[in-house]
Amino acid sequence: MTTPSDPASLDVLRQRLAAVASLDAAALAAEEIAVLGRKQGELTHQLKALATLALDEKRARGAALNALKLEFEAAVVARRAELAHAASAAEARDIDLTMPGRQLWVGTRHPVTVVIDEIVAIFREIGFAVALGPEIENEERNFGALNFPPDHPALDMHDTLYLDPRGAEWPVGERLLLRTHTSPVQVRVMRAGPPPYRVVIPGLAYRNDPFDASHAPAFAQIEGLAVDEGVTFVDLKATLTHFARRFFRPDVKVRFRPSFFPFTEPSAEMDVSCAICGGIGCAACKGTGWMEILGGGMVHENVLRNCDVDPERYTGFAFGMGPARMAMLRYGLPDIRLLYGGDMRFLSQFGAAGR
């Protein structure tokens, strides 16, 4: 046993430290006890012996011993990990690790849900909240309040599914129908309180259309409404341009064309440059280089009046689009019926990461 003041003992310990890296498992365990053991350990022993030294000698030697102890502990841990890893690698040599792992079913959200969520998220960034409303509506909210004159050809664009009154008398305007667009929710929002309004409205809408490759009698729609003092057509253009850049790609080109909807004036449709041909013209864009994406406009004065909003004080815009169509464009779907069926071979394609 070395004396506490023997500097040679430190050198010996340093040599033993260097040797740790090549010990086998049993020798490592023995060496750990021999050096670091709480009762018999060499280092423990020397640290205890410090008490007998003079103050300045105690300080110098104590620091050296403590540093050595930490190094020794680290070396033991490292060597043990190295030995464990080598052992497991040896074990694994007998296993064919190329065999397939146990898999889990990957669930998926509907591609149209994914698109709707993305649209909602973009509008949420610029202050819109989600509003919802019922799919059964009355004529007044679906048409009248939205400035559809009775017996107007504009109604031809909305082939309406009415509900059977079962003998009951529903007065005109109160007749129940399956909403032909999500716009009646605008009416509900506006009638629920004063502006400002800033909402997006996702939901199903219904038309008496045949169920074919490009039509479904029920289809997803999402629309937006922003009404306040000083909201203008420039805000509409700006908001929808921002949306297009976020949803499609930052360098997407947009164009606004005049259009007609009974509930907006001025009315517009927005096209984005065709992603498939880059605007040169192809079959997907019917050679125009543009894809029609959404319609909108300034909320018609009559609609504001019908919802008790003063059109001289408040102005606003509304817009609507078809997430199913946008999903079809994004994923290259040939037939809308894929979206209204439960074919696992189709749905399971939308589980991977990304969008």
């Binding site: 669930g107 919802l132 509900l163 199903l204 696992m344």
Partner: protein, 792 residues
């Protein structure tokens, strides 16, 4: 609306490129859906000049020419036309060109003379029937120039998508007006080829009754017919229209019928004013009356169908009977035929709503009804009427019998609207100058009447724009003509709305994410189905029996989707849906809707793995119950599950049924495994905030017991008793871990194993304490339920 490019060119007196026209119209709000070639394709032909002509040595009727077609080679071409002249230019078909009749031009030798190509006549190009020789080209174009550069070859048809508000765009004049504004050029009516010299005074103005050519004209229904112009033309010769007129109609897709009918159709497609010509000799009682149909009246329309006319429908009648459904279709009895010599020409304005109702009631949509429904220009009717008379006299001869008449019982003017430039800025977000605003309004044909001192612009709306009735309509026109593209797109400041998300949205999102996380795929099925429960609302006007009623539950639709997957040989199906279901309210029978979430699973519970020999355990009812429990936590936390009549029923706090879960009946192929599913009503009155419970400090003690219970005793009763009685002995949880039924047990009994977890909040429990607790529980079980412990 089908639009002929050449017709527009005639209005604008310039050549147009259809692609450019399509772009301009789109940017003005009338997109072009398609551009279709009409007639022959002349793109293969070129202009050629004849350098030299000599007589064919061996054939009297043939000439031999030298032709320069710009290719650099002078061709020897044999030609049979007598009018071929040196120095003149003609259409030329080079070798290899396919003629409109399908013949391919190849090198030929005619009586010893080689011919390399063909000089063409109009007929050979499919351009007309005048075949007295080659088509001489009066042009400066160099040899080799495309023929289409110098002659109107094939026309093009533009299919214009006209929105329902733009009646004026249903005539070529209206389209030409928009293009003229876009191009900054003037436009005027095309000349009528060979127009007859005709002294045509303005029709004499009358009230609701007038004599015309010996026939009495009367408007009995002023609301339905505010204006009616008529003239009698005698001595017309019915025959085919001239080629130019036939070509115009063919270009817009209308079949030529005879010169008189073609003339009325021409004016309709030009000026958006439908007209009708009656054979004057067939009018009974020498009268034309506009009136409401009486009960029981019928008519055989021009399409040969005998129709009952709903009473009140606006009709044109003679003294005895309806001879036309006003604004929709004329009658067969009075139609112009080959033997007609005298006609009565009608040019009227009808109430759009009356025409629409008649069209819908009769299920008869025509070019005329389409236009009347959208509104014709009653003030422009006089010009249209006069043009039609000139055209008829030009193409069919005849002469007016006395002056034409104009019954306009209550004359009106197009509206005058006041426009505030400040309002333009408020709506559009840009300050446009007065002159800019005025320029756009002048471009649509409006008249700026005056500039009153109150800062408003007084605007007289043109008669062909029935859609413009208020200030905002003018603002839209200003923006439209100014160009939406020229308005800025800078996102300005906004006040955020004060509304929160609809609470249902967050719940729906959570359900979707959770079930997708459990390996299920979201599906959207049509809410209209072929059959549902007795309380499901019916659709009044379903398109097909497949979609005649609204679903009152999600599970049947989901099971249907499973069957569809089976039909595609897919055995592993895991679907969920979040959507509305519909019911008739119990009290008043009014249809209502409820948000539901449902799921269905069949097939393997996980993808098969080689460690299990490629097989996988199938979904069972216990999996379904677990999913159902999870769904309830998300969608309806207050609901409790009870066993009722062999399935799990969820009931809300008030005891009302909120959902169900169990095995599903399905039309299954033999290889399919069982189907399980569940659905629950979604509530969204706020999710409970989790309450924090301090983490346990002392260790738990776990004991498993095997209990002998009777087969008709439920595990729920046993675990409930253990939970209730065990609480004061530190029993933290009870779970069922096994069940055994078998011969080893007495008849009528089964064994269930439970796992009990004991824990104290104050100290570590000792074994004797736990043994004592179990002994107490044993006593309770035996005494209260007659359940014994088999082993511990």
């Amino acid at each position: 609306m089908n639009v002929s490019r050449q017709w527009l060119e005639a209005f604008l007196r310039r050549r147009l490129d259809s692609t450019d026209v399509a772009w301009r119209l789109a940017m003005l709000g009338a997109p072009v859906d398609a551009i279709e070639p009409v007639g022959v394709d002349l793109s293969a032909f070129v202009v050629a000049v004849v350098l030299e002509v000599r007589q064919h040595p061996d054939a009297d009727k043939l000439r031999v020419t030298l032709v320069d077609d710009g290719s650099g080679t002078i061709s020897n071409v044999v030609c049979g036309a007598p009018n071929v002249k040196a120095g003149a230019k003609y259409p030329f078909a080079r070798l290899g060109t396919v003629m409109p009749n399908g013949m391919k031009i190849e090198r030929r030798t005619l009586r010893g003379e080689v011919s390399d190509g063909m000089l063409c006549s109009a007929r050979e190009l499919g351009l007309g029937e005048d075949h007295d020789g080659l088509l001489t080209l009066e042009t400066d174009a160099a040899p080799g120039a495309p023929l289409t550069d110098v002659i109107d070859g094939g026309d093009e048809r533009l299919i214009v998508d006209v929105t329902p508000n733009r009646a004026d765009l249903l005539g070529h004049k209206g389209i030409a007006r928009e293009l003229a504004a876009s191009l900054g050029v003037p436009y005027r009516l095309p000349d009528i080829a060979g127009e007859a010299a005709l002294d045509l005074p303005t029709p004499a103005r009358f009230g609701d009754e007038a004599p015309v050519g010996g026939i009495r004209l009367a408007i009995d229904d002023r609301d339905g017919c505010p204006r009616f112009l008529a003239g009698v033309i005698r001595g017309v010769r019915i025959g085919a229209s001239p080629e130019w007129l036939q070509r115009r109609l063919a270009a817009v897709g209308v079949r030529a019928i005879n010169n008189v009918v073609d003339a009325t159709n021409y004016v309709m497609f030009e000026l958006n004013q439908p007209m009708h010509a009656y054979d004057a000799a067939t009018l009974r009682g020498s009268a034309i009356v506009v009136r409401a149909a009486r009960g029981g009246e019928r008519i055989t329309t021009l399409d040969g169908i005998d129709r009952a006319i709903p009473p009140g429908t606006l009709v044109i009648a003679d003294a005895d009977r309806p001879i036309g459904v006003a604004g929709v279709m004329g009658g067969r009895a009075t139609e112009v035929t080959n033997t007609t010599s005298d006609i009565l020409l009608e040019c009227a304005a009808f109430d759009p709503v009356r025409v629409r109702r008649a069209r819908r009631a009769l299920g008869l949509s025509t070019d005329a009804s389409h236009r009347f429904e959208r509104g014709t220009d009653r003030w422009g009717a006089v010009d249209a009427f006069r043009r039609c008379i000139r055209l008829i006299v030009t193409v069919a001869g005849g002469a007016l019998d006395g002056p034409a008449v104009d019954c306009f019982p209550a004359p009106t003017h197009p509206p005058r609207i006041f426009l505030r430039p400040s309002r333009v800025a408020q709506v559009l977000g840009v300050d446009l100058s007065w002159s800019t605003i005025e320029n756009q309004l002048v471009a649509i044909g409006a008249t700026i009447v005056s500039k009153p001192d109150d800062g408003r612009i007084a605007v007289d709306v043109p008669g062909w724009r029935p859609d413009i009735t208020s200030e905002i309509d003018l603002i839209e026109e200003v923006a439209r003509l100014y160009g939406y593209d020229r308005l800025p797109t800078d996102l300005g400041a906004f006040r955020p709305g004060l509304r929160e998300d609809d609470p249902a949205w967050g719940v729906m999102e959570r359900i979707r994410l959770a079930l997708a996380g459990h390996g299920l795929s979201e599906v959207v099925t049509l809410p209209m189905v072929a059959a549902a429960g007795a309380g499901a609302p019916k659709v009044l006007n379903p398109l097909s029996a497949e979609h005649r009623v609204l679903r009152d539950a999600l599970l049947p639709s989901l099971v249907h989707q499973v069957e569809a997957n089976w039909a595609m040989q897919t055995a592993d199906v895991r679907l969920f849906e979040v959507g509305a279901v519909f019911n008739l309210a119990a009290n008043d029978g009014v249809p209502t809707e409820t948000l539901r979430a449902g799921f269905v699973v069949t097939g393997s519970r996980a993808p098969a793995h080689w460690t299990d020999g490629g097989t996988a355990r199938a979904w069972d009812r216990w999996d379904a119950l677990g999913l159902f429990r999870r769904l309830i936590d998300l969608a309806h936390p207050a609901a409790t599950i009870q066993v009722e009549a062999g399935e799990w029923i969820a009931r809300d706090a008030a005891g009302a049924m909120a959902g169900r879960c169990g095995s599903c009946l399905a039309d299954a192929p033999p290889w399919a495994s069982a189907v399980f599913g569940g659905e629950i009503t979604v509530v969204f009155d706020g999710m409970p905030t989790p309450a924090f419970r301090p983490l346990p400090v002392y260790p738990a003690v776990t004991r498993d017991l095997a209990l002998l219970v009777k087969v008709d005793q439920t595990s729920a009763v046993v675990t409930q008793l253990l939970t209730d009685r065990g609480a004061r002995h530190g029993l933290e949880s009870v779970s069922v871990i096994d069940e055994y039924r078998g011969k080893a047990l007495a008849a009528g009994t089964r064994s269930i194993a439970v796992r009990l977890v004991f824990r104290s909040a104050e100290r570590t429990l000792t074994d004797p304490e736990v043994e004592q607790a179990i002994a107490r529980l044993r006593t309770s079980l035996e005494r209260e339920l007659d359940v014994t412990i088999r082993s511990t």
